[in-house]
């Protein structure tokens, strides 16, 4: 728990500046399923990257490489939008 700041030390109007926020761990929100990709089927359309609400789709340059499970909340959007069914939702082993 970060230390709470007195009003005078807070940025005016509560503006959040680069570096102000702790990294999010929305991965803790998953409730049983997580996405996995079969890269051999992936056509790199990046629809999953576009739709993922948590920026959990990792790219190397412009190439899809996998998921960041610290932030993936298991919403399944990527699996639904993938045009070639390269993404499956599987039992979450807590990884």
């Amino acid at each position: 728990m970060p230390e709470l700041t007195a009003w005078r030390e807070l940025p005016l109007g509560g503006v959040v500046r680069p570096g102000d926020t702790a990294p999010p761990h929305t991965g803790g929100w998953r409730t049983g399923l997580k996405p996995v990709v079969r890269l051999e089927s992936c056509v790199n359309c990046l629809l999953c990257w576009l739709y993922c609400p948590d920026s959990a789709v990792q790219l190397d340059g412009t190439t899809f490489v996998g998921f960041d499970y610290d932030v993936c909340k298991g919403c399944e959007l990527c699996a639904v939008v993938c045009p070639v069914d390269a993404i499956a939702m599987v039992e979450d082993d807590g990884d």
């Binding site: 807070l10 109007g13 509560g14 500046r17």
Partner: protein, 385 residues
Amino acid sequence: MATEARILTGGQAVAEAMRQIDPDVVPMYPITPQTPIIQGFATFVAQGRAHGELVDVESEHSAMSAAIGAALAGARTITATSSQGLALMAEVVYIAASMRAPVVMAVGNRALSGPINIHCDHSDSMLVRDSGAIQLFAENAQEAYDLMLIAPRLAEHPDVLLPVLICQDGFTITHSAEPVVLLEDDVAREFVGEYRIPNSLLDVRYPTTQGPFAMPDYYFELRHQQLAAMQAALPVFEQMASEFYALSGRRYHSVEPYALDGADHAIVCLGSTGGTVKDVVDELRAEGEAVGLLELRSFRPLPRHDVRTALDSIRTVSVLDRADSPGGAPPLFAELAAALHGTEVDLRSFVYGLGGRDLHPEQIRAVFTEDSGAYIGLRGAPCPA
């Protein structure tokens, strides 16, 4: 330096001020009696004499929402409204203040519905009393023009960064033509200066999140920042007003005493009524009555210490409210009661002029000299207190 006086309404005078300020963005939605302001400015844009981006929005709620976005993106932004427009906008006025968006807004004060009415009282301004927006009241068209030029400087000052409302009485000022002296365009422009805010939303090298959610652990502190900004606004206003005085010869203060020296009875009021009270004070002084006026230029922030200093040795103070609060104290009276708490002042409350009812000099005279009723001009005996 000043130009010749011109015959302008308050609405036209404020439109002239906007032309000289030449704001970058003007989101606007018409409503009587402020319409001449945005219409006047739109005409200047159509003539190529002002260059701001007019945004025709579908409501005042949208006008203030667009104004916040524009102001925080880095554009000097002005809008205008009245009555129901301000009521519809109220939610977003609070947000403008909390996001520290220095939006300037001209208000043509008009009674809130209902019953529906288009004429002046101050109920609309009072609705956003606690929003965190600064409210300055003009007595006449000249003051409306002058305060409008001071407004961007005040709003954008780094110690302030709050919306500023320049209030002028609907019709009484917005639509009444009188002599107004404008500054030369280049003098006005130089006085207003460049628009600067600490964090532009469009600064991609320093991206910020603005207006974030604040839970119980931070809401209180962020609200307190607005209080600090309001307090800072008083000395900043005095500073801007003194710079403006050097250019115009017209000096403004957050509270303005008139014939208060030696007075044993003073009226306190906002807006155009101050002009009428001054005439009555002159007459009564000539008759040997020790009466005076304290005109509040700034209602928010309420200059509590200056009010107390000006009035604490006066026997009787009559507060004239152009708004009421059914079941409670009228707003200006409540402020005065707080400011004068613990003094010996005999404080009296009067409500007048609701829905645009005229206040005549003889009625003001009666406030000073007789035991007149607390609801000036009301037909029938008022409810027992």
